[in-house]
Amino acid sequence: MARLVALALRRALPPWFLVGLVALLALAARASAGAPLVAPAEPEAAALRALARQNVWSVLLALAPLQLYLAARLGVGGARAWLAPTPARAATLSFALAAGAGLAALATALVAALAGELATDAGPRAWRRAALLDCPRTVLMDEAASVRWSVPAPAPGERLRLWVTVALGAGPTATARFTAHAGERAVAVETRAAGRTLLELDAPSGGGALELELERVGAGALLVLGPEALELLAPAPSERLDGLWLGARVALALGAGGVLALALASVLRPSLAAALVLALGLAAGSLPFARAWVPCADLPQVWAALEHGLVPEPVPLRAFAGALLVAALGVCLHARAFRRPEDAR
């Protein structure tokens, strides 16, 4: 059994693929290793590090169809021609092949995670989005240059992040001041806003609700507060969790998809099986009721979190369950196709 798993792993992850993957990952890591011309502030630096990680992970995502194809090749009739005459159970053979495909997906995700983390430094502090807070939708102009609202008091150590957008008025930019009042204590941050700009401050600790105020200081462009503009950030253990959560999502998606492709390849060409699995994954990921069960369906949100310098959310348990279900379905389908003549009766 272990030997067959090892053989399946070797066939799903052939040396040429592994060498090519490592070379491309190294190139991607090197391409994003340059120092910026201007030393960025911490949120921008975190975003730059996230960009470097995205570069590396993009390589693996681009190669995902090829990996699915390699997994699908395990399930073609060629394997049956030499495995079927043995007395081994069809379910055992299918499970071993599926385990090999799953391990190949895990190995590629691990290699990409290692490359991504070796290519980037960990920031001094890592943050994750704890909640989206209520925020009024408004436009700050000369006549109404500020807006105040209150939110529940955050926990100590948490941070507020406010996104403002500039609409062209008397100039392309505007000065924005964001203040948080907790009783007598107040913390403020002021910046020149252009385009979409974030204002971040450590929430002051104090009893009761937190009073927030956004002001447009002086003349300039209009300031727009749009939907989902205020985020509550909580400290995360490390930015290295980026690689872990991205890797887990990709490994689950490629592993489950690979097993399904392997099963479909018993009745389809491997290339068609891989394409069908991709299409099914995309279709399921776009269905509101199914997306929570698809491991990589939240990849756009994860990508956005990375762009904003945040550690993505852990893999939802339902995505784990969904991947296991798909893999189990793949093993059953493959074993059914592998069965000996009279088994089908």
């Binding site: 053989l7 079927a84 005459p85 007395p87 069965r339 003549p341």
Partner: protein, 278 residues
């Protein structure tokens, strides 16, 4: 060359039989029962869908066949007559559209039935990236042979077919003749009681023919049953007591090999004559 077994010729896989693991022995079941045929095929039919319109094509139609234990039978027929399809069905690689296959009384679906089959395919489906020893070890483990038994049997078989020096060479680098020799090794590794050989002499050089003859003699000496498909009458003469003729997916004749093939072994004349009759 006399291909009949000689008294002093001990089969290589005999050593492997002595040392079967308990799982392998359990799979094989009792070998002493003489009553059931080694191979019993009833109304075996295979239909394929072929072409753009998926039209059904019958590759085998109602094949009935029985081989007694220790019987050696040849299977001849022109290209496309269904010989390889029949052997693939008997080896459990393909699923029949209808009919049953029993091996020593057990249905082919049962593990103990498959454990007694040694199949030599006409192609080479084995993983090209692995070495001969590694594939034999894997197949031996799937057959339930104990580790030391399968390693010893693999080493002895590789030595016997002249591949010992290439035991670690990836199979993909083997020549056609080496691939056929390896095919013999994997078919005989677990000392099967029923041998299904598809064109065993294709690609073999003169030495390979001798090796094949020795291995077959050894298998006969330990009481194996053989069904061998071949295009070469010489492969069957002196070795198979009975020959079956397959034409257009139907078994059209069965009889003594020497009577069918004659001294000259003119298969073409036989096919024409049988086709004309049918």
């Amino acid at each position: 060359m006399d291909r009949r077994p000689s008294a002093g010729n001990t089969a290589l896989p005999d050593g492997a039989r002595i040392g079967y693991g308990s799982r392998a022995a359990a799979l094989r079941g009792p070998l002493s029962s003489p009553s059931p045929p080694a191979l019993e095929v009833r109304a075996l039919t295979k239909r394929y869908r072929a072409g753009w319109l998926g039209r059904k094509r019958t590759a085998l139609a109602g094949v009935e066949l029985a081989l007694a234990p220790r019987e050696w039978v040849g299977l001849v027929g022109p290209n496309g007559s269904g010989k390889s399809t029949l052997l693939r069905l008997l080896a459990g690689i393909e699923r029949p559209s209808a009919g049953t296959v029993r091996v020593f009384g057990a249905e082919l679906a049962r593990r103990e039935a498959r454990a007694r089959i040694g199949y030599l395919p006409d192609g080479f489906p084995f993983p090209p990236e692995l070495g001969a020893r590694a594939v034999l070890d894997l197949l031996g483990s799937l057959h339930g042979l104990a580790r030391d038994v399968r390693r010893r049997a693999a080493a002895e078989l590789l030595e016997r077919v002249g591949l010992a020096a290439e035991a670690r060479t990836p199979l993909g680098r083997f020549s056609l003749g080496m691939k056929r020799r390896f095919g013999l090794c994997q078919a005989l590794l677990h000392a099967p009681d029923l041998l299904l050989f598809d064109e065993p002499t294709i690609g073999l050089d003169a030495e390979g023919h001798v090796v094949l003859a020795e291995l077959l003699d050894a298998a006969r000496a330990r009481g194996a049953t053989l069904l061998v498909a071949s295009h070469v009458a010489h492969d069957l003469q002196g070795r198979c007591a009975r020959t079956l003729v397959l034409l257009g997916g139907r078994l059209v004749a069965s009889g003594p090999t020497e009577e069918f093939l004659g001294e000259s072994g003119r298969l073409l004349a036989l096919y024409r004559e049988l086709a004309a009759r049918s």
